[in-house]
Each structure stands twice: as C-alpha cells, then as structure tokens.
C-alpha cells in the first residue's frame, strides 16, 4: 500500500511576502487537504506601543512597500478620530485621490507583473520565464503598457506626497500639503494613456476568459462565502471612509444582505479572529455566524459584489459584464483578476472627476487639535480589501494598544479553501508536475495577498512543533495556544 505523502510548494512565488503551501496526499494518493502557511512574522502591533499617535501614519506605512498608502490613510483616519475633528473637504478629496492612485498602481502590479504571466505564457511555461521579464520578451507591448500604468499610479502618489513609497503626507487632521494646479494638470495629462492601457488589459483578459480560462473559473476558488466591504451613498462602490461612506456591508453568495451600515467603531461586535497553529496569519470571521459559517472574502471582488453600482459610465458597463459572466454575486475567486481591472477603470474615472472639482486645489487641508478621544478605529479600503486600524492612547497621545485587521488576513480562510479546491481537482500521486503545482500557487495569487502587512499579533500566537527522526517518524510533539 502506498504511504501518505506531503507535497510542499515553498516559497509561493509572485506574491508580496513569504509563504508556503503544503498538500497532504492520503495512502491512496488522493489529495486529503491543502494548507496555505504564512511563515513570516512582523509584530508591528507590539512595537508601536509607546509611540505617539502622530507617528502612526509614518510607522505603519513601513509595514509594506506595496501598501504604504493604505496604512498611511487608515492611520490618519484613526488619528482624525483621536483629535475628534472633521477634516477640511479638500483634504478628504486629496486622500481619496491618493487612494485611487494606490488602487491603480497596486492592481496594475498584481495583474500585469505578477499574474498575467500565467495566463499569457501558460501554466506549463518554464518557471524561469514565467514572470514579468518573460512577458516582456513575449508581449512587449502589453508588458510596457502594464509597467506604464503602474508608473502612472506611483507618479500620482509621488506628485501628492513627495515620494512614491512611504510618503509622509496624510496626517491626523488632514494632509500636509495641498495640490498645486500645475500638478493637477500634469496628472490629468496622463489619464488618456492610462485609460487605453486598462481597456487593453480588459480586452485581452476577457478574450482569455472566453477562450482558454473557462476551467479556472470553475476550479480556482469557486464557492459560496460571505463578502464584506465599505459601500457609499446609494450603495455605490466605495474605497475610503469619509462623508460619502455609508459603512460596512455584509452579503452572502445568494445576494442576501446580512448587515448594512456597520460602523468600524463596532468591529469587535461583528468580527472575530480564529488562529491555527500552522500559520502566523489569523483567520477572521463574521462573528454572528461563527468560524465555520462566517468566513468571508474582501477586496476587489467583494467591493464589486457589494455595491449596486460604481457611479461612472465605463466602469459600470464593465461591472454589468462582470455580473453577466459571474452572476449578481460573483463566487469565482479567479474573477478577482477581472475585478481588479474594473476597479482600475473605476479609479481612473473617479480620479478624473476629482481633478475637475475646483475644491481639489483648495489650500486649507489640515484641521488642528489636541487629543480629544482616547480610543479610535479607522477604516480604509486597501487594494486587497478592508483595512482597520484600532488605537488606544493615553491623555498625551502615547499609544497603549494597537490592533490591525488587514485585508489579506480576512481572505485567509478563502485562500486555504481555494488551494484545497485546486489541489483536489488537479493533483494526485500519479499526476504531479510543476505546471499543476503552479496552478495551486496561482489560486493564492487570485487574492493578491500581502503577507508583509498581515502578521502582527503578539501574545496569542499558537505554535505546533514536531520533532521527526531521520526516517520521518514523530519523536516528540509540542503545542502552545
């Protein structure tokens, strides 16, 4: 009789951060289970303690080189609440503008740099060529377009904040500097090329979905789950907290709204976190349904599932097509890729609208106050999903406690379910090769996880250690938590 066998994919490539996947085959050679293990640990929640709340935007931005804008905006939003101020209208619009730029650059990175090599070069392409450089060699026109789209998003971030990465610009009370008219015009001048690129990406990817990627739609993480995201007025697509935001919405795969208008302030009443001993990444769930029934997805697909409309013409047309392809509530995680392209288009349209708003160049961009509240929760939609920052401070504004709920963590249960579904569909003891294992990795890439952002909690970290002898037999086993 065959023995049980463990397959390891280590590291998982073309994601942000460090992780591995293990696939357990049973004695019959059939996939029994698959797990996505996050093997890095950051600990920001602990070492922010003792710092001033005014530093949090700069410190938490350092969690990541891809998502610094998201943390900066969530931290600034939390800081607004500690001051108990309403930020000036221009500051709110400028923060929205920067978040749109962040969505554009991050989604362009995910689609063009990290994931499209799989679709365009093939699952069985030589792994040494299956990357952005292989794409450049095979399709320089599309690769150049993708690189320039990301460059456009980064350019807007730099124009607003002075730096592409780790700009110290959003602060409690607003932003540090207004937008100059000349900079506004410079950003506007780049929009037409950016539109052309995303239209090109949409055409290429939709053609692939129609012709070559039909099985992936069924197998790459297609299952019912809950979805959570912010929504705006009229249940429009939303990406930022602020005056147009109606709060968080929870929907199931049948389109039933379980909760609406939830405030981030109360997140502890509707979100809870489970832990597993084999990963540093926690497993948040929707508390009313418990760990099993309450797993949910966040990010571009969730935002598009939860909104009734985007609110701009071209993106709404693409949303309609997405729903024709995947249903009113899209369950196929593979369509996260298409959702990213739709969100890039939405971001460009909303950016254009903001740049035509006369208030965008107003010079009053910061409200000033001292600490007026000792506890606050801020929220923002990061490219990968809903991001919550929760701070408690003393009367001098010194941080006493931090909790960060990161988008990637909220997709953890869905990512594990996805790798299991793919592994069970493609793999068995007689059918194991690199191209098939790459499909398992690609299931993770649907979610575009950022693991650098996601592993912070200290003190409650479960641990499971197994000591094996040279023959692989278990000698000793220790567990904590």
């Amino acid at each position: 009789m065959a023995e049980r066998r463990l397959i390891r994919i280590d590291p998982v490539t073309r994601i942000e951060g460090h992780a591995k996947i293990t696939i357990q085959l049973n004695a019959e050679g059939v996939v029994e289970s698959a797990r996505f293990h996050v093997s890095e640990y950051r600990g920001f929640e602990r070492f922010c303690e003792g710092r001033s709340y005014t530093e949090m935007a700069a410190i938490t931005a350092r969690i990541c080189g891809i998502c610094p804008v998201s943390h900066m905006l969530a931290a600034a939003s939390t800081g607004d609440k500690l001051l108990a101020v309403q930020i000036p209208p221009a500051a709110e619009k400028l923060r929205r503008l920067m978040n749109l730029a962040q969505i554009i650059q991050s989604h362009a990175l995910s689609f063009f740099h990290l994931s499209s090599p799989d679709f365009l070069l093939g699952w069985d392409c030589d792994p040494q060529r299956r990357n952005i450089f292989g794409l450049i060699a095979a399709n320089p026109d599309l690769a150049r377009s993708g690189i320039r789209l990301r460059q456009f998003g980064q350019g807007v971030i730099e124009a607003l904040g002075g730096r592409k990465i780790h700009a110290a610009w959003a602060v409690p009370g607003g932003v540090r500097s207004p937008l100059l008219a000349a900079t506004r015009d410079q950003i506007r001048s780049g929009l037409s090329e950016a539109y052309a690129v995303v239209e090109q990406g949409l055409a290429v990817f939709k053609h692939l979905l129609d012709t070559q990627l039909t099985e992936e739609l069924e197998v790459f993480g297609t299952f019912p789950s809950l979805f959570i995201a912010l929504v705006g007025e009229g249940n429009r697509w939303e990406h930022s907290s602020g005056s147009s935001c109606r709060g968080l919405r929870v929907m199931n795969s049948d389109g039933c709204v379980l909760a609406d208008g939830l405030s981030e302030n109360d997140y502890g009443t509707f979100l809870a976190e489970a832990v597993q001993p084999w990963s540093y990444l926690k497993f948040p769930y929707y508390r009313p349904l418990g760990p099993d029934g309450g797993s949910y997805r966040v990010g571009p697909l969730a935002r598009l599932n939860l909104c009734e409309q985007i609110g701009s013409a071209r993106a709404d047309q693409e949303l309609l097509e997405l729903r024709q392809r995947g249903g009113r509530v899209v369950k196929a995680s593979f369509l996260y890729h298409l959702a990213r392209l739709v969100e890039i288009l939405a971001s460009l349209e909303q950016m254009e609208e903001l740049l035509h708003d006369p208030e965008i160049t107003a010079t009053h961009v910061r409200a000033r106050a001292e600490v007026n509240c000792l506890e606050a929760v801020g929220v923002s939609e990061a490219p990968r999903g809903t991001l919550l920052h929760h701070y408690r401070v003393d009367e001098n504004g010194v941080i006493e406690k931090v909790n960060l709920i990161i988008a990637t963590g909220q997709n953890n249960a869905a990512m594990n379910r996805t790798v299991t579904q793919i592994a069970r569909h493609y793999l068995c003891a007689e059918r194991l090769d690199e191209a098939l294992l790459n499909r398992v990795e690609a299931g993770i890439r649907c979610f575009d996880p950022c693991l650098s952002c996601s592993t912070h909690a200290a003190g409650a970290m479960p641990l499971h250690v197994q000591l094996l002898n040279a023959d692989g037999a278990l000698v000793q086993e220790l567990s904590r938590g």
């Binding site: 080189g65 040494q128 450089f133 292989g134 060699a137 150049r144 690189i147 460059q151």
Partner: protein, 156 residues
C-alpha cells in the same frame, strides 16, 4: 522621443537606512539641489522596471551605487562602462531590484533604445542600520562629484 530632447541621466541607487549602502542615493540627493539643468537626476531605493522609460529617453546614463572593496562581480571603485544584459529572465529576474545591466536591457526591449551607460561605484564601509554615511564614504562621495561633473560634460 527625439534625439534633440535627450539629456544625460544620473541614477543614484541605495538604501539610506543602511549606512553606506545609501551613498548613491545621497549623491543624487546632493545633485538635486539646486534643480538640475541640462540633465536629469533620480535618487532611487532600487531599480524597477518603471525606470526603463527614463533610461530610454536619456542620451547617456550614469548609475551610481555603493560597493564593498571588491564587488561580488569583481569590479572595484570607480567608473565602469556598462552593457545591456543579454537576458532579463532566469533566476535573477526580480522586478523589485534590477541590476543596471538588466534595466538597460529592458530599455532596449520595451522602448527600442538603450543609451550608452556607465556605473560609478563608491566605496562603502558600514552596512548596518544607520541613516548616516561613514566618514570614509562621505569623503569618497565628495571626491566623486568632480568625476560626475566630467561625465556630465561628456569628458569621462
């Protein structure tokens, strides 16, 4: 892109939180004040594919980076001519941190133009956590400025 509009480009590379590793970045920062005239200067943490368009539009490119006494590829301090890499794929293909030769290759592949390029290596001594250059590298940076000026004038 027109040849008449093309200007020399200097790209200073480095991590300014890793002491002397930030020498190239610091040198570029010095050259950015006052605003450069007649050439372009970029200070970069690392080389990424987005820089290929700036390289392709330049008449000549000078990369400035720090290195240990003898770099891993055998090069020593000073000015070295560069050629575009023959391939950007393979095990060293990391879009977070390209080598100058790979960026030149991308410039050729994506934009059909790869300008003449050189690499100026500055000596580094300290590589730990610090936002300050060592005294030796500070001195080397000052001594590099005339070399950069000659390169800018087309004499190096």
């Amino acid at each position: 892109m027109t040849a008449a509009a093309a200007q020399p480009l200097l790209i200073g590379i480095g991590n300014v939180l890793r002491a002397d590793d930030g020498a190239g970045y610091r040198l570029a920062e010095q050259l950015l004040e006052p605003q450069p005239q007649g050439w372009e200067v970029l200070a970069c943490h690392q080389l990424t594919p987005e820089l290929a368009s700036a390289v392709a539009q330049a008449s000549r490119v000078l990369f400035v980076d720090a290195c240990m006494k003898v770099a891993t590829d055998g090069r020593r301090y000073g000015l070295h001519p560069l050629q575009a890499a023959t391939s950007t794929s393979g095990r060293n293909a990391i879009s977070h941190g390209l080598q100058p030769e790979q960026l030149l290759s991308l410039s050729q592949q994506l934009y059909g133009h790869c300008p003449p390029a050189s690499l100026l290596l500055l000596p580094g001594h300290c590589w730990g956590h610090s936002d300050q250059l060592s005294a030796e590298t500070t001195q080397a940076l000052a001594e590099a400025l005339p070399i950069v000026e000659r390169w800018k004038q087309g004499d190096a």
